[in-house]
Amino acid sequence: MATTLENANPTIFLQKTEREVLPDEENEDVVDKIDEREVFDLIRSINDPEHPLTLEQLNVVEQSLVEVDDANNYVKVQFTPTIPHCSMATLIGLAIRVQLLRSLPERFKVDINITPGAHASEDAVNKQLADKERVAAALENTHLLEVVNQCLTVRH
């Protein structure tokens, strides 16, 4: 980790409470669709690479920026780096991608983008995150994979 933090005092946002379990969810015969909240729950506890905080606490991911279409197997996630020059943006995006790769059914096509206007080199980062081969190559890098795994470990 860098000795000087890029964004030393980030604003911390309130966390959502656990999702309530509805009676329908305990009924064996009802099919539960994958919705925005469910996908948001998958990514909200990802750790920030430089702070001991989650992406939800930093408002990097928000439920309103998650789009899910279960019937058409499509998921779109937008995330907002804390500062416009954040060098961690690609890493955060990669962590989100890996988490969804491991947690969502394979039938889904996942798009991960930076919220429009939130980052200086938005296009470059978006392009990198959308490139399957570059993502796969990045994960061959053991050091990088360790960093990503660290972001994905749940703190107790």
Partner: protein, 128 residues
Amino acid sequence: KQVLLSEVPNLMPLLVQSLSCDEQSLKLSTLQTMYSLVLDAPEIISRQVTSLVPMLLGLTKFQLSMKVRMEALKCLGALTTLPHHVVYPYKTKVCKALADSVDDKKRLVRKEAVKCRNEWFLLGSSVR
């Protein structure tokens, strides 16, 4: 509990067998016992991993009861706490097999499946 733990080696074959029994309630309670044994008597469970993993994977697809599926996933997730060399050989197999469970029709089962699958993906990385 001490008494029980000393008898576990003799009981193990029976426990493993009762996982393939038809009775749902028996399956469920065996899975619960198995879960606590993984944490309490890891060295005994380690010897049974070869038969346990395929069995638990089968139960994660048990369509009749979501409780059985959830409990099987919990057990499977707990197995990742066993010594590395015992469970690591199963990593690819388990991760692949759980791809179906994260698409389960019930949300609560998916939640367990995600937790379990992520624990298996983290095997072999230094964060654990």
